[in-house]
Symmetry: D2
Subunit: 371 residues, 4 copies
């Protein structure tokens, strides 16, 4: 299953950064969904590099739907999206084939594939592989939105600078999500955003890079979604989130701060409001026992600083096994945080739509189907 | 797949806290493995409640292997382990059937199962379901140990008290792992352990509970294990770790601290030592691009404070939808951190053994098989 | 996945003929289904050996539901059924451990498991493993019946004796299915059944065995069930049917007779009747392009003659590699055809219910759900 | 999983007959395999239509490997093959959009996809989808051949004409397989082949079509491959074989003829020859208990007569629900038997390679790995 994910909505990813094309096959879509292709393009554009705070490799990233799409609707058979690799300067990479870039997958690819990996630009490990994920995610996301489920993320932290927090009140939170999804640099407080840009540019000027924390909110997910073992919402989402390059930590609700709380402080008191079970706080991030409780789903991912930096680094040449000083050339991002946001949203949408289908699957067994 | 995990070594979990029995089916074990049943019993015992810092529900938790085991070896067919539920005082739970315990799965189970769930003692959501997981994990763990792969965990933090950190030097780390696996209260520094016990007892006296952070190290895992998309080591382990009740955050290497680092500080410089590629630091926790690099695998999980507390809490009665004051009765743990450790080890072993098999699977395609 | 089947309704089978117990875990059942346990028992009884035409090993085959069942309903969590092995005379088998029985799995088990297999009574390969399959299938079958989907099978041929064919008219066919499901010896024409019994008894008297052909009909399955690649109804059912020991051929509709037909003879002319698309003939057995067309599903399985016979056979001793004359002792069936029928029904029910759920899964993506 | 197959070597199929492209993603290939692209092209050519006995739609069917292939070797990441649809005369199909072709998937596609299916040329149900399957199969087949495992098929029957049978002696059988794989019209006896061609041409002249039976042999497969429940060789192969359009029956060894045999006649006597366990007859087609016994694997598939015929047929217009006389236009095959042969070989190769990997996967658990 390696490069596939999902039981009901199955996504299969393929391609290398400097190969012919990258792409994704999405199997399990219902027939007759009228997708908004502009929506997909907008999400793809948000993932793309822009300005001084990103890599100078610019590609059109044009998506080509080669199957599963007919007369403006999904057909119900596998929908395949291709993105051709056009702006590939493979020679940039030839010289450094055996020079293992620290904190990259260079060495692990050698260990795994015995030197047969497509090493150019990171090959299958390139962040570029997230482009088809975003295309697939944008499909899942618009299907969820038609059901009133909205996903939004912001840069809670960029290096040591923090954005404000998500609102607790659900209408306000919805507004924030809508606002974030319209922005290229996703922060709630745009002044803080300016400071973050300055931090990224300063790192870029030093030939260095920074990371940060993305916070995500999901509203409108009904209670009862997720499976106890082993397909809890947390399990399914973390599985997908950790497949996004550079994610090294995932926490739900209070996350690691739970260690500081007593049970009596951490527990979310329950009440009944407007015909709905709600909690007064949402320390559990909308999930109990792995299953949604109807409150907003809240989680955070840490994105490590981009591994490709221009500063000189110590490493070895894998062929000679000799130490070398590495000075990375080429085009790189001093931060990927702002671009990664849309990837986080995308895998979240894919995971939740799969779990919604999983809940739906068994419904056909009931005498009277549920409302 | 809900209650199954693993492509090659598939674990299927079943049972409810107060049903007839709980258990696990393990499919994919090689034939002819001479398991040490005492090893399994020891791990089961470490998961069990002991002393004032744990629940007063004591069960023998005797495992019964009902299939896949013959003349002292695995047969290669599914190995099934049953654990009967003996000490069940179901009446403790009858009265509170509709009283939703805060931060438990009570409400989400209603939302998901329409009231048909076995509510007694948390039913399928009970921490008791981790007992068969430990039995399965202890099998995986001893198979890994025969290959020189060792897993150990300690309580890095219990509420606000911290243990010392894992040693960086691998021989010293191995000693620490061995020492931890022999302890019931897994800390590196036993004096700190005493303080932690005091913290737990103090919470218990208040009818309250505490959580903390478990840190895990794996040594001996060869480089090249894990799949790029979507079965990275981080994806597979987090999927399993988040299925352990009370885990609300998972981080690898520096984890959330990566946000504070520049790329030049975070990157692990590479060198060659004793015929092996090594890194000078291990900020990435032994994983690059989702694949092991031969350094120790290091990660942390946060365990939220036990949701069951004796202090009075605000909630509702799900039947009447009216607010009620909840005073939980019965037998509960003021902390599960020390017991959860062995569950963390177990799912880690299951996930890594599955990934080892995944790497092995394709080997039959090569003309000359790899050493 | 080896011992599991099904994406939505997953069945995991375990156990050996002379081990502690055999059983099955069924995951994916909806919560709140009020199963009829007597229905399960009746199906189990029909699988059991009776009279001179069957083995003399008689077991109560009492099923024990150890999880997923509470207050008379499914809970929505894995439902586990255990059947203890009580009447095991293992000594019958000790002497012949290395004497490979022709056409049995004795040698292939040695080749696969290196001698670690539980050899007693065929171990995991025993026909006894079909008992939990029948229990699981009886659950699926009653869920289907509540939706108006009925499955029935008869012995179309027993050795060289033939039963009459299924009626083409659907009401008559439904009556036949109901009648068959009430019989222990499932034939449409009971006089033919008497001849068949005579054939089986004659073979038994010779220490020999016979096989035959089971024909199955399914009515009430709506059009549109099944997936084009690779989960056609034919693919899913044949996968399951060939897992039933002794099945060596499966054919749908005209099956192998299609070779004799011209396209113009084989094609089923289409018409419209009582608001429904129907075909004038049903040569395709209710399936086009792998998907149900609303006509009865019709297929046949061949059951080879029981491999265990009392007549002397040529084989080798696997330890010495020397030729030996084998005279099988113990208790065996001169025919299993009549007992296999209920296993065929059971796997059919499991496969079709899984495909119904698969069709249902994607429904949550539609703005307006389908009727 | 719908459009994916295989646990270890996973094949995902996509595309429609008249869409942009059709293709396949193959995940799980080992890195470093030096594939022979000419081998793939040759197999693709054998699947293509030729002469008067086939459709007049001719396409180059050029394969484009867009990922997983680098410097002449597999990379170990997903290998994706695209085949563009060039010779598409969609207008042929517009007029008959609602005219349900008998024995085609036209009606079942309406029932399943509510009219959103790409109806042109059968869309996703087109036999054209077997082209990427053949490309994938040709990769699997050459990997198997490097391990000494050979697959070959012949037209055992074309309508009422029969070819001679496979040789029983293994060296002779190997020669036959080699000869068949070099032929476009795969028969053992070329004179019989001439008669078969005449039969097909005669049917073509009448605007009619014929079917037949393909017989397949596999040699070199080691004993011990296949899983008892539910992944027997028979289960896995039949699952794949029934996904080939027009296959309506599959039988192993004696197949449906087993009904005529007594156990004492059907059982294959076992002996020991040249250091190997062998059977004197091979009635079971090389499989016992679902697992290979080292003898040649033998099975047969029936291919129904092509559903597209030029003779006038009775059907309905799905829009008006009125009866219509249908006169199919366009380009069609009077027989697909000779073209289907290579598809049968291909899915056989994919299934067996997957099972070989499955057997391999668990090997890493053993202290000393098996030879």
């Amino acid at each position: 299953m390696k490069n596939s994910f999902g039981h009901n909505l199955t996504v299969t990813l393929f391609g290398e950064s400097h190969g012919e094309a990258i792409g994704v096959v999405i199997d399990g879509l219902a027939a007759g969904i009228a997708l908004d292709l502009d929506y997909i393009k907008q999400r793809m554009a948000q993932r793309q590099a822009k300005g001084r705070i990103s890599t100078q490799r610019h590609e059109p990233d044009e998506i080509k739907i080669v199957s599963g799409w007919f007369e403006g609707h999904t057909t119900g058979t596998p929908l395949t999206i291709l993105i051709e690799n056009t702006n590939t300067r493979s020679k940039d990479y030839e010289k450094t084939r055996y020079r293992l870039r620290p904190s990259h997958a260079d060495y692990t690819a050698f260990a795994k594939y015995d030197g047969f990996q497509d090493f150019r630009g990171g090959g299958h490990f390139s962040g570029r592989l997230t482009a088809p994920i975003v295309a697939a995610g944008a499909i899942a996301q618009q299907i969820l939105e038609q059901k009133g489920i909205y996903i939004g993320s912001h840069m809670l932290r960029c290096h040591k600078e923090s954005d404000q927090s998500f609102a607790q009140e659900e209408n306000k939170l919805k507004e924030q999500i809508f606002a974030l999804n319209a922005k290229d640099f996703p922060v709630l407080d745009d002044e803080k955003g300016q400071t973050m840009r300055t931090v990224i540019e300063a790192a870029a000027n030093e030939g260095d890079s920074v990371g940060g924390i993305i916070e995500t909110a999901v509203i409108g997910l009904p209670a009862g979604i997720g499976e106890p073992f082993f397909d809890s919402i947390e399990s399914v989402l973390s599985h997908l989130l950790f497949s996004v390059p550079a994610v090294k930590g995932v926490q739900f609700g209070l996350g690691f701060d739970f260690a500081d709380y007593y049970g009596s402080q951490a527990n979310d008191a329950i009440s009944f409001k407007d015909g709905k079970v709600v909690t007064k706080t949402n320390h559990n991030g909308g999930i109990n026992g792995g299953i949604s409780n109807g409150m907003p789903i809240l989680f955070q991912c840490v994105i490590k600083p981009t591994a490709s930096i221009f500063k000189e680094q110590e490493t070895i040449d894998y062929q000679s096994k000799q130490p070398v000083k590495l000075q990375i050339q080429g085009r790189h991002d001093p931060a990927i945080l702002h671009r990664a946001r849309v990837v986080i949203d995308s895998v979240t949408a894919l995971g939740l739509l799969d779990l919604l289908c999983e809940q739906q699957a068994a419904n056909c067994m009931r005498k009277e189907e549920r409302a």
